[in-house]
């Protein structure tokens, strides 16, 4: 187990390497990959600080860390109920929060999409129907990426519709250049038009959210 004293920090480097080497290490730390180098040096201190001996042997070792793009839906509500409108024949509404984590490559990107995988009822049956365009949604601001915004999007049973677009070189948590929070979130405002034509009854639909990252 490496002690903290072996971790590369400007202070430790100065104490252990002296002014000349400290300058070299400082440049690396301040480079784009400085943070990664810091992790490697903490995990494998012998690469950086080999034991001092009269006859020093230098051994090179290749360390490979594959940092892949990731997308994770931390939480989506398991079940929600659209609320009856307070003003008759306006809209059934519900606001839900989607939590997610993402990491994208400099040339990649990501997205959160939604698709209605089970409709409330068949179009033309008298009940609400996503296939008939009855369900729409808007989005609040996303704290990583760009949300679908305030213009209503019509949910679909056949295609995935946009919720959040995640840019290249994006990452969750830890602060700049990543997001400040360790889990990102976006709110969605679901709305279903309450028209007199709807047949009374209880209905259920299934929404599937997908996060993808490259």
């Amino acid at each position: 187990m490496a002690s903290d004293a072996n971790c590369i920090t400007p202070g430790n480097a100065a104490r252990q390497l002296g002014p000349k080497r400290t300058e070299s290490v400082r440049r690396i730390i301040q480079s784009r990959f400085g943070a990664i180098c810091g992790i490697v040096c903490c995990a494998f201190p012998w690469l950086v600080f080999p034991a001092k001996s009269a006859a020093q042997t230098v051994v090179t070792q290749t360390v490979t860390i594959q940092v892949s793009p990731l997308g994770n839906l931390s939480s989506v509500p398991a079940s929600v109920t659209l609320a009856q409108p307070t003003i008759p024949f306006t809209s059934f509404t519900k606001t839900i929060t989607i939590s997610y984590q993402a990491r994208t490559t400099p040339s990649g990107g990501g997205a959160i999409t939604m698709q209605v995988t089970t409709d409330f009822s068949a179009a033309g049956s008298g009940g609400p129907s996503v296939a008939n365009g009855d369900l729409t949604y808007t989005c609040g601001a996303a704290d990583l990426g760009t949300s679908c915004g305030s213009s209503p999007i019509t949910a679909s049973t056949t295609t995935q519709t946009n919720v959040v677009q995640i840019p290249s070189s994006a990452c969750t948590g830890g602060g700049t250049p990543c997001s400040s929070t360790n889990t990102n979130s976006v709110t969605m405002n679901l709305s279903l038009a309450d028209t007199p034509a709807l047949t009374s009854g209880t209905y259920t639909a299934a929404l599937t959210f997908t996060i993808s990252s490259t």
Partner: protein, 175 residues
Amino acid sequence: MRKLLFIAAATLFTGAVAFGQSNTGNTTLNLTVAHEASISVDSSDNFSTTGSVFNPYTATTNFTYKIRTTKATGTGTITTEVTTDFSPTGGPSVTTPPTAGDALTYSCTVASPGTGCSGTQTASTSSATSVATFGADAHSTAAGNSGSVAWSLTNDPVYGTGAYTATVTFTISAT
């Protein structure tokens, strides 16, 4: 040392190979569509009289209703009630007509799925009287359906001249 650091850094950089990745989450969306109704009426209607002397005063109140009743067992009604009698005093009165037989009466015209009141109804300040009824699984259009009440008020010579105002409240309900 510098060489070692370079090797490590370079290897890490080239090792970051991109692979697409995705996962999913599911939400069940529940909705209960219940019975519901709303109505909008003219804010103000004025009585007028035409033709022969002492012909009744007449006026028409137009309304638009929206309704959804329960599929198998629902019903609906539109009613009206004089919630504030004519004022000031000295003129017509629903509660206390100055002459027996003086009355505020009305007939109804209501678009389907409503059924308008039958014949001539007499308005009351003490109870709601029928304008329309609805059966089970009744649905108006999204924009609402129309209806009207044609009022008739006795033109009694005993009324003092002047302007009189009453308030009539329409109520729609659905089950």
